[in-house]
């Protein structure tokens, strides 16, 4: 997933002003995946949302303390949490098909052996199905498959909860406010007070 081009960036302008534009664009990118990702079957969208979260996180990591209001740091942590969770979901989405693939390969192998044992008979003798190759592998692979499928469901439920928390805490509005703040430019009363 390509990052969106950010317009009106100025190398001679301040880091804070440019970073504000980039972060604003990365926030939009992240939020654009909702509501699509509220459907657990949207594997690709979930994966791309993770990439969007990663992009936002890394830009915030460099700029939040130097450029923005304090909430930017809080948001960085929330985005990281989201990215990690989406990463765990992605791991399951990658591993599950791999386990299924191995099961399918072994199953095909066993079926081919059984066809060989049948030797062109008109019907199949049940005794021939005993002791087929790879039978010792089924239990472990089935356990793995169930584990990954159920874990994915649990992680996805947690993702929905985390996302609801993010929405309820108005992370977007607060972060957009924080990136417009310029704490380093504020001159305190003490600094401006005349020296007696």
């Amino acid at each position: 997933m390509k990052a969106r081009k950010v317009k009106h960036l100025d190398p001679e302008g301040t880091l804070a002003d440019n970073a504000q534009r980039v972060v604003a664009a990365r926030i939009d990118e992240l939020y654009d995946f909702v509501p699509a990702v509220l459907d657990p079957s949207r594997v690709k969208k979930l994966h791309n949302m993770r990439i969007a979260a990663k992009r936002l996180r890394y830009v915030l990591e460099v700029t939040s303390s130097a450029c923005f209001g304090p909430y930017a740091l809080t948001a960085t942590k929330r985005v990281r949490e989201l990215q990690d969770l989406l990463g765990e979901i992605h791991d399951c989405d990658i591993q599950l098909p791999r386990v299924q693939q191995i099961r399918a390969e072994l199953s095909e192998d066993a079926a081919a052996e059984l066809v060989g044992r049948a030797g062109g008979a008109a019907d199949l003798d049940p005794a021939l199905a005993s002791g087929l190759p790879h039978s010792e592998d089924w239990a472990g692979l089935a356990a793995l498959e169930h584990y990954l499928a159920v874990r994915r469901e649990l992680l996805y439920d947690r993702f929905v909860t985390v996302w609801q928390d993010i929405e309820r805490s108005a992370m977007r509005a607060r972060l957009e406010y924080a990136i417009a703040e310029r704490p380093s430019l504020v001159v305190s009363d003490t600094e401006t007070a005349p020296i007696n």
Binding site: D10, P11, L15, D17, E61, A66, E88, L144
Partner: protein, 209 residues
């Protein structure tokens, strides 16, 4: 396989590869000055994490280098308007390729770690199937490690580190250190992506692997 809380804890530990602070970075400085300061730190971070990455028994090394690569990529993209695009583009391509190859090694690393926990908790009857999956994943890890070794050779042969330094050098449009050195010796610089086989290591970071 490691379940929820335990695995999260493991991941959190893994994510501990904290980004180094950028000395002197302020919101008031110019975007282009910030680019120089940030890229210098992120570039050093990447090469400092190259030690031990080909050792499959120390999976944290790959993780740290992968995170450093992602961070470098992210800042190169972030500061793109401040950089010479002709210099930046091949660098960015190589950094992305490196990130991909590190990711291909990292995935089986994490999976094997988790599978070891899963196998330990499994019954006798379940173990052979899990072992089969572990074997398959180990093969994938070995293959990814060979690709990573090749990629690291390429990165060194292309002098990525020198090109990154040239990218943020005061007159970034000028020739890179590799080009200057090659020019001084009367030979053409090694183009990025050229077969390894050639010029000797410039920075020597590869030897620390």
């Amino acid at each position: 396989m490691i379940g929820g809380a335990e695995r999260r804890k493991w991941r959190d530990t893994a994510v501990m590869a904290k980004a180094r602070p950028i000395p002197g970075l302020t919101g008031r400085m110019s975007y282009s000055d910030a680019a120089t300061a940030t890229i210098a730190v992120r570039s050093d971070e990447l090469f400092d994490h190259a030690a031990g990455v080909l050792d499959v028994t120390n999976i944290e090394a790959v993780h740290a280098m992968r995170v450093a690569t992602r961070r470098l990529r992210s800042v190169l993209e972030f500061y793109e308007p401040c950089l010479e695009s002709e210099q930046l583009e091949p660098i960015l391509i190589q950094v992305c390729e490196l990130a991909d190859v590190l990711g291909q090694r990292r995935d089986p690393d994490v999976e094997l770690e988790a599978l070891a926990g899963f196998a330990a908790a499994a019954s006798e009857a379940e173990r052979p199937g899990i072992e089969r999956f572990i074997d398959r994943t180990s093969e994938q890890q070995q293959q990814a490690n060979a690709e990573l070794a090749q990629m690291l050779e390429q990165v060194e042969a292309d002098d990525l580190r020198g090109r990154l330094a040239a990218l943020i050098a005061p007159s970034s449009a000028a020739e890179s250190p590799a080009e200057s050195e090659a020019a001084a010796e009367g030979e053409a610089p090694n183009p990025p992506g050229a077969a390894a086989g050639a010029p000797p290591a410039k920075s020597g970071w590869l030897r620390r692997r």
